[in-house]
Structure formats: C-alpha cells, structure tokens
C-alpha cells in the first residue's frame, strides 16, 4: 500500500479550498497522537501559491498547492531523533507530536519548508495527510475532498498510474523522492499581437517564427485577433520573426523566456 497525491495544475482555479479546509481541520483541533493543534493562523500545512506571469494584456496565472511531499527518502525522517518521525504503511510521513517536542532541527531539515515550528508548543508540525481521518473511515484528506474541480487526487499509486505518467515532482534536485506529484505545470510563454498601423487593422495569418537558443524552431500563425502565442517554453533566450505578405518582416532578439515576454501590439510597416 502506498498512497500518493496527484495535483493537476491545469485544473486548479486557485480557490484555496485546500488551504482553508486544512486549517479548518487542524487549527485548534487536537488530533493527538496524530497531530497537535495548529495555531489559528500563520502555518500553512497546505499552501496555495499563485504565479502571475506576463504583462498586460497577456497575463496568465497558475496556482500550485504545496504541502508536505511525504518523501520516500524524507530528510525529516533522517533528522529525527527518538523516532519522532515515522512512515506509515500507507506511505504518509507523520511527525509524532510527543516524541518530536523540542526537535527544531526537523523544521530546518525540510528543503521544501513544509515543516513549521510551533513556538508555543515547542513542536515541529506539518501535514499528516489527515491520517487521523483516514484511520477512521475517510477515503481522502480534507484538502482533496474540498477540491471543487477534482484537481487534487489522493490514492493508491497503482490506481492513479494513468495520471502519474506525465507527472513531475517539485524540485527533483533535492533528491528526496516526493510522493506529491504535479501535472501540467505550464512552462514559459511568449506572445504578441500584429497589426497594420496605417489601416488600423490586426494582421491575421502572419507567420511568427520562434527560434530558441538551442536552435529549435516553432512556427505559428496570428489568430483572428492578430494574436500569437508560444506556450510551454523552457527558460532560454529566444528570437521571434514576424512575417506577413505585403509587409516588411520584423525580428526581435534576445528575448528571455523566463519573463514570459509580451511583445505587445507590434506594428508592421508596408513592404
């Protein structure tokens, strides 16, 4: 038995239900021996991070809920003394609220910042996967149950295999083998709008060529609004050439995709 979380970023509307329901469950509710009460505010065992990118009007936002990764190779487990952190049969990594008292190094051990230090209780605290509920009849943790778009799933790794195929983990380089997987985290984008300043008309069907630093090229055409978009780009340097029949082509160099450049409304001169 090994449970995983799978979060589809393309289906997350940023409603924060997961963050809220986590607080509703744990703030000032005492679920020892699973977890001591979370303070009323200030800790985020599940936190929705928002990622606005681009410039007006080509602005996109995606949200990534982050929680304890219940890592297969959990640094907190290694840092724990006295068996204060344990892995359950279902794979959830739990801090024992009694044994962990005073073990501040646990909060520091987590590279993801998912463990919080409770000064008042002298205790490190984090997401338990709502183990106290799972052991008493619940099928999923509160955050998953509250997700209105089913962007967040929890279940047996084998049963979620289809969803895991193209999933990634956050900061793979930490090497902790997280058990919280993400799908559809968007890459960088680049966009603009092409128009004819003389006629004050958008140019539909202009050919836009994107060349990345590694020499790979992508070609698209401007749409009915004169817009072009390149999506899911890696962080790199790029050049864009815009060509339309009857107009002089225009090229933009040294575009840093990391900033999700918006070339704005690009006027093309008559050839």
């Amino acid at each position: 038995m090994s449970k995983v979380f799978v979060i589809d970023v393309a289906r997350c509307s940023g409603c924060h239900n997961c963050q809220l329901s986590c607080k509703d469950e744990h703030c000032e509710n005492d679920w020892r021996p699973y977890a001591a009460p979370q303070p009323p505010t200030g800790q985020f065992w599940c936190r929705v991070t928002d990622h606005p990118r681009g410039t007006i009007p080509k602005v996109k936002i995606h949200y990534i809920p982050v929680l304890c990764n219940h890592c297969a190779d959990a640094p907190c487990l290694r840092a724990a003394e006295n068996g204060a952190v344990y892995r359950r049969a279902d794979g959830l990594v739990v801090i024992d609220p009694e044994k962990a008292a005073g073990q501040k190094q646990l909060a520091e051990a987590c590279p993801y910042g998912a463990i919080f230090w409770n000064e008042e209780l002298n205790l490190p605290q984090k997401c338990t996967g709502c183990a106290h509920l799972l052991d008493h009849g619940a099928k999923v943790p509160r955050c998953v149950e509250a997700c209105p778009t089913d962007a967040m799933r929890f279940g047996e790794e084998a049963e979620l295999a289809d969803l895991l195929r193209d999933a990634v983990v956050l900061h793979r380089e930490y090497g902790t083998s997280p058990r919280v997987y993400y799908r559809n985290i968007p890459g960088c984008f680049l966009g603009g709008l092409v128009y004819d300043p003389v006629e004050e008309e958008v140019i539909i069907g202009a050919t836009v060529t994107l060349t990345l630093a590694d020499g790979t090229r992508q070609i698209t055409q401007t749409d009915a609004f004169g817009d072009f978009w390149f999506r899911d780009l890696p962080e790199t340097t790029a050049a864009v050439t815009i060509e339309a029949e009857g107009f002089a082509p225009k090229t933009f160099f040294d575009l840093q995709t990391a900033g999700c450049p918006n070339l704005g409304d690009v006027p093309l001169e008559r050839a």
Partner: protein, 943 residues
C-alpha cells in the same frame, strides 16, 4: 464507542450567503458543543443514482456529469471562523452616551463605544421606543432596513423578522431594495426586451447544454465565474468553464481587471477602462452596420426602431459616427482590436455571460451598455442556437427551468415567514402579485398549523429606495421614479410568466407621503449600507442626523452600520439554530434539508425571530401570540414547513428526520425544453417579448412615450460623456484632481459585506495585506505603471480619495489591471477614523457617487468613478494616529481585524458567558496563543 475522531453530531447547514434562497448543503461536525469541521455534502451518503437520476450533458463527443458532492466554496468552508469570530455581538449592547430618557448624542454615533446591558433592559427600551414613535409621530416614523441576502437561513431568515413585528404595530416605512446587482438590466435592458423580473434574459432553460453544443465563443463581459458564484451558487460554474475550454469553445474576457475567471480560463483578455463598454459596443455596431455583418432578416422580423439606432451609430443624429477610433479614445481598447472583435463575433456563434457585478452594470449610466448589449445580441440573431445571454450564477432565480439540467422532477416550496419587500397598497394594480411569501392552497391544506403564522399583515404605507435613504433622511424629503417593489418579488402565474412592469418605472413617488411622518427611528437587520451602497459617507451623516432619535441594529457581528446604532441586539448564526432549507442553486441536485444547531448560540445571541419575540414580549402577550402564530416554536416551524414543502408526498417526516435531507430526483426531460429564446427566434409573432411591440426595441416605445427628453436615458441608447447626474469620466474637469477611475467588484473573499472576518481568508494577499504597521488593509489593485507614477510600491499604505472622503488601503501592484485605474472589492468592514470622512477598513463604497444610475433610473452607481490615490506619508500617518488616537488605537484582533473589544468602553467586559463554547480568541479579542495583544502603537515590525 465514540472517540474524538468520530463526531458526536453531524448536521447539514447551508453554505450559501444568499439569504432566504438558502443554497447548497454542507456537513458540519460537532464535538462537545463546538463545531469541529465543515465539509462538502456528499450526495451518495444517503442517496443512490437510481433515486437521483443524475443529469448528463453531451456535446461534441464529450460528456459533463455532476460531481458526487456539492462543490463547497471558501466562504462556507471558513465559516467556523465566522461563528466564533471575535467580532460577534455576544450580548445586548447600548451606546454609552445614548440615553433614551435624556441626551441622545446622535453626533457621536460611529464614535462612542458600548456597554453591555441585559436582554430585559434591551427589549424594554426597544418596545418603549417603538410605542413612543407610534404615539408621537405615527408608525411610519420607524424605518425598517431589512432586505435580502444575508446568511442562508430560510424559515425565519436574517432579513425581515422586524418587519412582521412592525406591521403588527400598525406599519412602518419600508427601505425598498433597489436593483443593486442588476441596475443597468432593470432600468435599461427591460426597455429593449422586457424580461421580467430584472431585465436579464429569461427564460434560460437548457442554456448551457445548448451553448456546449452550438457556441463557438463566449464573451465573459465583466463576468467573473470564479468570484460572484462563491457566495451564491458553488464551484459548478468553474467546472463548466473548464469543460467549455475542453470542448474548444473560445473564452474571451472583456473587463478592466484580469479577474479570477480570466486568470485561469481566458483565451483572450481585452482590458477596457471601467464603465466605458458602451463606446466599445457602439463601435462594434458601427462595424456590423457599415460592413453588413449582421442578421438583416432577423432584424426585419424581430426588431423595432432599428433605423433610429442606425442613425445614432452612424452619426446621422449627432454628427459623430461611432467609429472604432472614436470608441478607442474613450474605452482604451485599440481600434484594430475593436474591429477584430467585431468581425470575429459576427463570424462565430457567440453568447455573452454575466455573473452580476463586473465593470459596467453597477456604474453611472449603466442603462446604456445594458441596452446596447441586448441590441448587439439581437443583431446576431438572439435565440438562435448558441446565441444567448447567460448567467454564471442565480441559475434558479425567477424561472421555472434552469440553464443547467439539475432541476427537480417537482419543485419543492419551503415557505418563509418574512415578506420584507412588498409594495405599498395601491402603488401597483392588484393583478401584479408582489407578495412572495403567502401560503398557497396546497400548503394551507398540508400544513394548516401555519395559517395563523401567515396571517395577512397590513402592507407599509410608504417606502424609500435603499439608494436614497441617506438623502431622504438628511434632506427630510425625496422624490424618484418607480421602484414600487423589488421586482423579483412578483409571483409568476401558473405558466411561470410575470406581468410586464416597465411602465411603472415612469411613476413619480415622493417621501414623505401626504399625512405620513418622516423617519425618526431606524431598525436595521441588514446593517451594511455604509459598505455596500452608494456614498457610504452620506449614510454615516444620515445615521448621525439629529432627526434620528433611535437606531436599533440586530446582527450577529458588530460591523458597518452597527457602529451607528444606539442599541445592538445579538443574533445567532445559521449554525446555531434549526432551519429547513431549500437548495435550488448549488447546481448538482435540488434538495430540501433540515439544519440542526451545530453548537449552542454564541453568548446571549438569539435567532432573528426570537430577537423580535423578546421585543414582542414587552409589547404585550397579544403581540407574542400574533407574532409566533399562536406559540409555534422553531421545531414546530421546521416540522410544518416540511409538510408545506411538498416533499412529504415523497418522504415521510420520520424518514426525513433521520436522513436530514431530501434530494429531489432530476427532471428526466429537462434538456428537451427549448433553449433560451429559441421560440422567439423561430416564431416572434406567436412568442413575442413583453415589450409594447413584442419585439426587441432599438428605440424604446415606453421611453419615447413617457420620458422622450431624458438626456441620460434617451429612447435610443447613447454614449453619455457627462450629464447632470454624473461627471465621472476621464475627460471631466474633475479628473484633473482625481485622474483615476475606480472600479469595485463583488469581492472574491466576501459575499458583499459578509465574511470579511474569516481569519484564514485574511491570510491570502488578495483578501488582506498586512502592512508595515501590522494592520490588515484591504488591497487596492494598481498597475505597475500607474503605481510608479505615484511612487507606490507593493504593500504600501495608500489613500484613495475624492470630494466624498478618504479610504485607506494597501497597494497590490499587479499586471492584472489596466493602467489609469484602481480597483477595490466592495464590502470591507468600515473602521471609521473620522466618521463620514476617513475610513481605515477599506470600505470603498464610502466614497462612491451619491447620484442614481441616472436621473430617472432609481439605482445606484458604485463602480467606475473618479478618484486619486497616493502613498500615505509619514506625516499624514502620524497626524491621523495622534489627532484621532482613540479611533486609531481601538483594540483589534490580530487575525480578524476590527472586533467587539474595540467598541466596548471596557474591553475586559468581553467575557464569553456561554458554557461549552470556546472561542478562537480569548476574552479581550486577543488570539489564543503566545502573541501580544494587537494594539496599533505597539505594532511589531512584521514583514
């Protein structure tokens, strides 16, 4: 054996904040008399698919099916924080310097603090004051401020209980709700297409299946499907939007802000300056007319007065052709984008979606864009498959059939007692039935025990539109046109039709009416005028007017208008009482459910109904008998209301009591109903609109007949740059001093004024920003370019101001807003530093325009008005915090902000008198835990 992991008790409660419309069910667990958790309700907990007949929409090879649970929203999930808020009124309070037998000090309302008194004393004062008013001035001297929205209580809702008692005393002056979320539709669009009751498209049966099958493009015009539905519907609109994208339907958002829907669903965002949509619409019409890109055959058979419209658009009437270039200067959208949008729209089967609010429907001259929108839809064959005006909220309202096919096989009808919005007798003809809450014959037969409770109480004899209450009080008189009744009160006939009411918009009404008193006392159960209505600062002035001798508020929380009350009566929340709710709106199934008290009432609070019973007891036993329908208890009401609901024909009371919910099976053939206005589209002669001509009126017959010379709402809609009511454009002289347009949406983290104190929402930066001084300010969105011009950085404390006052906020610098604009959600709780002038709570409506939608359109204009904004200087900050130290230093709760302790003469008095209820915060509003009390002058340097 019970352990702490198994709830001792599980109840069902509504998570909607739509008032008596109840809304979706959530599960509330309690242990030892305290709420443990709030969860979505799972339909498969008690019911099988065999019972429910789940609906399915099929389109373009894909299916859309309902989820297994209600899609609860953050406002419902966080409600535990609201029940145990340090902002609760826990016992009756009296303003310390208000003496009903001596000096009343009206000038100190909003300033002076409160002392705790007993229920006995509070009820006695109320009864004495009501009697004194009646005997001295006549019953109309009492203004009852009581209308709609509020918590999702049904049987005896949060608004309207005082009206019944006042009616028993011989009458009162009614505060009539204006069409607050539909101003432009009601006062404008109705004159194009009728559409009782509010001027938005109806019927809207089967709309979303039709859109899924036939639409190519959706224009979300000022619509935010990720915001306004949260307090009203659920997250079902969100699921629908994702599905539409999956189907390949293009989502285009036209709004000044990248709203929360646009942020995740938009294929294209067209930013537009607030409240300039009419210019864009006229230019689209210009392109369609000059390039012949509209449905001429349809116009020939379905439209009236189109030539007059063409003359205006082409400039034959006023010499100004409404070209894209002309429009671009006004609305900020580039001419090439306007043309592209116009042509793309003409090429693609397009529907327009709304969600109440947004940038133009509540602005100055909102009638014009509303009318123009309907006209544009008409030019593309409104009613054709895929061509509709749809809504992302209020799927159940006003119509028999729903746009999403979850409607029940039968329509349950849970009655409710309070008829808080009704017409004055004689103002409307008898055949327009404006009594929402009578028992029908079926209900009388099934629940005869209720007949006495529903005795016909006399109607009030005068009313004041809510958007004019302040002026009426300050000036002692008022006159206006129309608004005889909140129009959605009109009961449909057996076929679901309502009588047209357009012509009543042209009746002049006055206050006070001949022989009746002006107002000298206010009893409010919806104390949010300062933060939800027009020119809140004028409301402050009105509440402090010497003519107002007594102000009574009954409310669960000490907020907004409560600060101006002389007496505050504590009300229990929906989680602390029994109720019978009616979910028509949450969008998975319809249901009727019994809510139980999840915890004892906080403090000495009572239900809305029982607050009035307390007062009735002091008026005499005959009042108690009449008010309670001969002693019916809360439990009796739930029992007999169930009998009246119609559900008992399908499920016995015993069974219902066990399950606590009856899920209504879906109507199997809902998707066979004609979608939207399809019948009008195919056969306008036999399915006419309710306009005088039965057609889409591009030139209004009624306006031409009754008010042909109104420059602000002419027979053909116009672009109105400025006129006598409003001068709120960037072209104005005023814009030299106030060069920014302020827009105000319905809040993402609030339902109007509700839920500003959910501590976990307040940790989200788009809800509150904790500035350097530790105070959690309301965010003010501003574009980086506009901010840079003013030296404003993210999280700076800023002031937004105009001639009407100053509001403090914290800057949220973002690319999500068009330059030249600032944006603040409405509904933040007032924190008056200089009452009527300077607010620290971010209550943006305190500086909105006073004038109506337009001179003859009795609505409010609360979005799209001129302001300036600046960073608050250290000198200013020091001056305010010292000169107004008492207000500035009122104790605040670290997490919840303004709170009860801040308004007590002795904060230590805030002792929790109840047993078994442990508040999230301790006695003096200090958060449990190790933190210091949050006193402003000791603010730590928190980042």
């Amino acid at each position: 054996m019970a352990d702490k992991f198994t709830p001792e008790e599980q109840n069902i409660v509504s998570f909607s904040l739509m008032g008596p419309e109840s809304g979706g069910p959530c599960l509330v667990d309690s242990n030892r008399g305290r709420i443990t958790r709030i969860r979505p309700y799972f339909y498969d907990k008690e019911y099988t698919d065999e019972h429910c007949h789940p609906w399915t929409i099929e389109a373009r090879g894909q299916t859309f099916v309902p989820p297994d649970r209600v899609t609860i929203t953050p406002l419902g999930l966080g409600y535990k924080s609201r029940v145990y808020s340090p902002n609760r009124v826990k016992y009756p309070l009296k303003r310390v310097d208000w003496d009903p037998k001596g000096e009343r000090n009206p000038q100190n309302r909003g300033k002076s603090k409160y002392v705790r008194i007993s229920w006995d004393e509070a009820a006695q004062i109320c009864a004495d004051e009501l009697r004194r008013m009646r005997d001295t001035y006549g019953p109309e001297a009492v203004l009852c401020e009581s209308d709609m929205h509020g918590e999702g209580k049904r049987v005896a809702p949060s608004h309207g209980c005082p009206n019944r008692l006042l009616a028993l005393m011989g009458g009162y002056t009614l505060q009539m709700r204006n069409m607050d979320s539909w101003e432009g539709w009601y006062w404008g669009a109705k004159h194009v297409w009728g559409m009782e009751p509010v001027g938005e498209m109806a019927p809207n049966a089967n709309l979303y299946p039709d859109i899924a099958k036939h639409s190519d493009m959706l224009l979300f015009w000022g619509c935010d499907p990720e915001t306004t539905p949260l307090g009203v519907v659920s997250h079902m609109p969100s699921r629908l939007c994702y599905w539409f994208t999956d189907l390949g339907i293009e989502s285009v958002y036209i709004c000044p802000d990248l709203n929360y829907g646009a942020a995740v669903h938009a294929d294209k965002w067209i930013p537009i300056l607030p409240n300039t949509d009419a210019a864009l619409q006229l230019a689209i019409a210009y392109i369609w007319i000059t390039e012949e890109r509209y449905d001429k055959d349809y116009i020939a058979t379905h439209a009236h007065g189109f030539d007059r419209f063409v003359d205006y658009v082409l400039g034959k009437e006023d010499g100004v052709p409404k070209t894209p270039k002309w429009a671009s200067e006004k609305c900020g959208v580039k001419p090439w984008t306007i043309k592209a949008l116009a042509r793309h729209w003409a090429d693609k089967t397009t529907s327009i979606l709304h969600g109440n609010g947004g940038c133009y429907i509540r602005g100055p001259y909102a009638t014009e864009p509303a009318r123009l929108e309907v006209m544009l839809l008409g030019m593309q064959g409104l009613g054709r498959p895929g061509v509709h005006q749809g809504k992302m909220i209020e799927w159940n309202m006003w119509v028999r059939d729903f746009p999403v096919p979850y409607q029940g096989d039968f329509a349950p009808k849970v009655p409710q007692i309070c008829d808080c919005l009704r017409a004055v007798d004689g103002d409307l003809p008898d055949d327009i039935d404006m009594r929402r809450y009578d028992l029908n014959d079926y209900q009388k037969e099934k629940a005869p025990e209720l007949i006495e409770l529903f005795q016909k109480l006399p109607a009030p004899k005068q009313f004041i539109p809510r958007c004019m209450v302040h002026r009426a009080i300050v000036e002692g008189e008022a006159e206006w046109y129309g608004l005889h009744c909140f129009s959605s009160s009109q009961q449909p006939d057996k076929n679901g039709n309502r009588k047209p009411t357009n012509i009543y918009q042209f009746d002049k009404i006055v206050y006070p009416r001949p022989g009746l008193s002006r107002v000298h006392m206010i009893w409010t159960d919806s104390p949010c005028n300062v933060t939800c209505w027009n020119n809140g600062n004028l409301f402050t002035e009105a509440y402090r007017d010497p003519s107002i001798e007594t102000v009574i508020a009954q409310h669960p929380w000490l907020e907004n208008d409560c600060y101006f009350a002389d007496l505050i009566l504590p009300v229990a929340t929906k989680h602390e009482m029994s109720d019978l709710c009616n979910d028509l709106s949450s969008g998975v199934y319809q249901s009727v459910y019994m809510t139980g008290p999840c915890c004892p009432p906080v403090g000495e609070s009572l239900t809305d109904f029982d607050v009035c019973v307390k007062v009735a007891e002091k008026l005499g036993p005959e009042y108690v008998r009449a008010y309670t329908g001969n002693g019916l208890t809360e439990a009796d009401r739930v029992r007999f209301f169930y009998a009246a609901s119609g559900c008992e024909d399908f499920m016995t009371w015993e069974e219902f009591r066990k399950r606590k919910i009856y899920v209504v099976p879906c109507k199997p053939n809902a998707q066979e109903l004609p979608a939207g206005l399809f019948e009008f589209y195919t056969d306008p002669d036999n399915h006419p609109l309710s306009t005088p001509t039965g057609k889409l009126e591009y030139c209004s017959t009624d306006i031409e007949k009754y008010m042909p010379d109104d420059p602000e709402r002419p027979p053909v809609p116009h672009w109105i740059e400025k006129s006598e009511s409003h001068d709120e454009r960037l072209s104005s002289e005023r814009a030299r001093k106030y060069p920014l347009l302020c827009m105000s949406n319905h809040g993402r983290w609030r339902m109007h004024a509700q839920c500003d104190d959910i501590i976990w929402n307040r940790e989200v930066e788009t809800m509150k920003i904790r500035a350097w001084d530790g105070y959690q300010y309301e965010p003010m969105w501003i574009n980086p370019a506009t901010a840079a011009e003013r030296g404003i950085r993210h999280r700076d404390i800023v002031k937004i101001f105009n001639e009407r006052g100053i509001v403090l906020c914290a800057a949220y610098v973002t690319e999500r807003l068009i330059p030249g604009v600032v944006y603040v959600d409405h509904g933040a709780r007032l924190d008056p530093i200089i009452p009527g002038w300077l607010d620290r709570g971010g209550c943006i409506n305190s500086i909105t325009p006073t004038s109506m939608t337009s001179k003859n359109s009795t609505g409010m204009a609360v979005s799209g008005f001129l302001v300036e904004c600046q960073k608050v200087t250290q000198e200013e900050y020091a001056e305010w915090s010292t000169t107004y130290a008492e207000a500035w230093n009122r104790p605040l709760d670290h997490d919840a902000g303004v709170c009860l302790a801040g308004w007590l003469t002795d904060p230590a008095m805030d002792e929790d008198p109840t047993d078994g209820v442990r508040c999230l915060h301790d006695k003096a509003g200090v958060p449990l835990g190790s933190r210091e009390p949050h006193v402003p002058d000791k603010f730590a340097k928190e980042a």
